[in-house]
């Protein structure tokens, strides 16, 4: 089924080493319109992988292709269709959400009329109308994360890379963020996300990748992963823990 779908992101033998290998010859293929969750224990290499894909870290080796663009050879073209959001919303305290989105649209060279229409749409989707012209300095973490998410979506990216985007959000904010991401995928966008909230991965992901010690140790739909662990009736939590335990034992 996947063979007919365009590839949104692929990494080939992607590697990065700090004091020890953080990402070790990682091959990853994510298809257009797919919601992909990358799971793994702390220090497994999830964030390092995503930061390399987003262009925030230079890989030690290997290649990254985003929508057919070689992200290492032509990072500007790759960044034009990519968005990055981390668990710590990095926005400017002294700008309002409206001004922040205008700034992001300017950085991505988005047509002003289209950017403005998109901004109004995102502000409405995320329930930020009341705060649209207030400086971000007094916002709660949830509101800041929603502003950052709006910034990530204002240029209508084909690939959205999210590192623990729901950390610290209340139930209402988390639902709004999840709804926006679902709509994005329904519209043909691709999402790759790391999360420690396994329930989110279980409910939202089309496919799940499990990474440990910088290597992809399992990949597939939830059912495929269950079959792989030989325990078809268990939850994702059980499946995940079994996969990681097997990897630790093998190491």
């Amino acid at each position: 089924m996947n063979a007919s779908r365009p590839i949104a992101l692929s990494t080939r033998a992607l590697s990065k080493r700090f004091d020890r290998p953080a990402v070790d010859n990682l091959d990853l293929t994510i298809y257009g319109g797919e919601f992909y969750c990358l799971l793994g224990p702390n220090g497994a290499g999830k964030t390092t992988t995503l930061r390399m894909v987003a262009g925030l870290l230079r890989p030690g080796g290997g290649g990254i292709s985003i929508d057919g663009i070689d992200a290492l050879a032509d990072p500007v073209a790759a960044k034009q269709i990519t968005a990055w959001l981390s668990d710590e919303p990095m926005i400017y305290d002294k700008l309002t959400p409206y001004e922040y989105l205008e700034f992001v649209a300017g950085l991505w060279r988005i047509d002003t009329k289209a950017a403005e229409a998109r901004t109004r749409e995102l502000i409405g989707w995320l329930g930020l109308e009341r705060q649209a012209h207030e400086r971000c300095e007094s916002f709660s973490k949830g509101t800041r994360q929603k502003v950052a998410l709006a910034g990530a979506l204002v240029h209508d990216p084909k690939l959205i890379i999210l590192d623990e985007p729901l950390t610290g959000l209340d139930a209402g904010s988390a639902r709004q963020v999840k709804n926006v991401l679902r709509e994005r995928v329904a519209d043909g966008g691709t999402v790759i996300m790391t999360t420690h909230i396994l329930e989110v991965a279980e409910r939202m992901a089309d496919r799940i990748g499990v990474i440990a010690n910088g290597r992809l140790i399992a990949e597939g739909t939830l059912d495929e992963l269950r079959v792989k662990t030989g325990a078809a009736a268990t939850s994702l939590e059980d499946t995940f823990l079994a996969l990681v335990a097997n990897e630790s034992a093998a190491a």
């Binding site: 925030l56 990055w84 400017y92 309002t96 409206y98 992001v104 300017g106 991505w108 400086r135």
Partner: protein
């Protein structure tokens, strides 16, 4: 080993934290850089001793029996240094009030908060004394070498000054806290600290301008009017100066009084320190609605968007404006001198231009840190489809834009009187501001804008390089204004500083 929870145990804990802070500052956290940092420190110490020799070699023969003008000069120097120490100590105390850090741990532990904060205040005092002693050491060493060991008593005076400065800083900050509340204390305390640091120098220069038409403080200190109105030589006012000159009785009295004052301040304020720190931690930001000048997004290039963002963030932050533009205070005396020059028709450009050039360097350094290192959304900018070089260029342009805006009026006024002087000043400003920006580029780090005040402690090497580079370009401009080829010498030093910075700066990693 002391029992947990005792004053000694807490002091040991603070000492360990302090030592680790110091070593990580010096080595930027990397063992491999320790050697380079050690070489830089040794070179700096040698340079400072040579500099001190040049400055104080003529004063080594001064003794307790010297005339009133010597006592006036020493006392004024001590007051000047003390105002800077007080300014630094106020900043440390304010930081301690507002740093969240381990506050929760301290206040929820069964250890007496009073003890903890007493030790913390002691650490601030030790820090103030250590910095004062380190900076004064080259001058004292040179004086002792040329004038005898009696000058070593100056170490005691400097230590006492640090202790008194900390005691005053505690009292002033606590008073501010009670007067204006936790919300405004931070901003006001830091402005007061900066003004205290600058006011004494500026005041003396203003006096000098009106009495002698120059920026020289010596002119003001040697005026007959001043010498006729100071107390006689046996007055207690001169005890610090006499202690400097080796009077052991005066030295003992000063050290005992300083220690007592600090002890009283710690005893008085440590009990309420926790309450103040808690109040400071509970301060939230008020909601500020922003009016838009125009409706709708504006069409601009990414570089222009970046420049505009830098300027907007600066304009909207009164605390940052106060911190960065405080350097402009130092322009007050040269502006006054310019006015006096025009009025009297005398030529003071050799004095005026270097002050302007130095102020430009210092201002550019602060702005460059804010723009280059103090990026609050580094991931956003790094993932934007713009080459990193263009981002840096836009940020440097934002800095140069502010420098141009601030200094263009000075150049314009100079132009009316002397195009040559205006040209030299403009080139000097360009050199000084450009060098300061390059130093910040070499030592760029990822930080938040709110950490601006810590930029000087996050890299001492960058701070010193920036200061000495500004001095070198100021000297170049002064000598160029005096039409001497010796101007090439400080220019070479300025370039060597930049080369040294490039050599010692941390390697850039993706």
């Amino acid at each position: 080993m002391s029992a947990p929870g005792t004053l000694m145990w807490l002091a040991g804990h603070e000492a360990r934290l302090g030592w680790r802070d110091w070593t990580s500052l010096m080595t930027a956290g990397g063992r491999t850089r320790a050697r380079n940092a050690a070489i830089a420190i040794v070179l700096f110490a040698v340079f400072m001793h040579l500099f001190a020799y040049w400055i104080v070699k003529g004063y080594a023969d001064a003794s307790i029996g010297s005339d009133t003008s010597t006592l006036v000069a020493i006392t004024t120097t001590l007051l000047l240094s003390w105002s800077l120490l007080l300014s630094q100590a106020m900043e440390s105390v304010t930081r301690a009030f507002y740093a969240r850090a381990d506050l929760d741990l301290i206040l929820t532990s069964p250890v007496s908060a009073r003890k903890v904060f007493a030790v913390r205040m002691g650490r601030i005092a030790i820090g103030a004394v250590a910095i004062a002693v380190l900076l004064a050491a080259p001058f004292i060493d040179v004086l002792a070498l040329r004038g005898g060991v009696r000058w070593l008593s100056a170490y005691g005076v400097v230590a006492a000054m640090g202790a008194v400065a900390t005691a005053f800083a505690l009292a002033l900050t606590v008073a501010l806290f009670r007067l204006v509340g936790p919300k405004r204390t931070r901003l006001i305390a830091q402005i007061v600290a900066a003004v205290i640091g600058a006011a004494f120098v500026i005041g003396l220069q203003v006096m000098a301008i009106f009495s002698g038409g120059t920026l020289s403080r010596a002119t003001a200190l040697q005026s007959q009017w001043l010498l006729a109105h100071v107390p006689d030589m046996n007055s207690i006012v001169w005890w610090p100066a006499r202690a400097m000159l080796g009077d052991t009785v005066a030295l003992t009295a000063i050290i005992v009084a300083a220690a007592a004052l600090l002890g009283v301040a710690i005893a008085l304020f440590s009990a309420r320190f926790g309450d103040h720190a808690q109040a400071a931690a509970g301060v939230g930001s008020a909601t500020v609605r922003q009016r838009r000048g125009s409706l709708g997004f504006r069409r601009r290039s990414p570089q222009r968007v970046l420049r505009q963002k830098e300027w907007t963030l600066l304009i909207r932050d009164p605390w940052l404006i106060s911190q960065t533009l405080m350097q402009i205070l130092y322009l007050l005396p040269p502006a006054l001198l310019l006015w006096v020059t025009f009025r009297n028709g005398t030529d003071n450009y050799v004095v005026l231009i270097p002050v302007v050039v130095m102020a430009a360097g210092q201002l550019a350094g602060g702005l460059a840190w804010l723009s280059i290192s103090g990026e609050d959304a580094p991931d956003l900018v790094a993932t934007a489809p713009i080459l990193a070089g263009r981002v840096l260029r836009a940020k440097v342009e934002a800095v140069i834009g502010v420098i141009a805006l601030v200094f263009a009026p000075v150049i314009a006024v100079l132009c009316f009187d002397s195009v040559f002087a205006a040209l030299i000043a403009a080139l000097g400003i360009l050199g000084s501001a450009g060098a300061a920006t390059l130093i910040q580029l070499c030592f760029r780090v990822q930080a938040r804008r709110s950490q601006f005040r810590r930029r000087q402690t996050s890299s001492r090497i960058a701070t010193f390089a920036e200061a000495f580079s500004s001095i070198a370009w100021a000297a170049t401009a002064a000598m160029a204004a005096a039409l001497t080829w010796f101007a090439l010498a400080p220019a070479m030093i300025g370039l060597l500083i930049l080369a040294g910075v490039r050599w010692i700066s941390p390697p850039r990693q993706a």
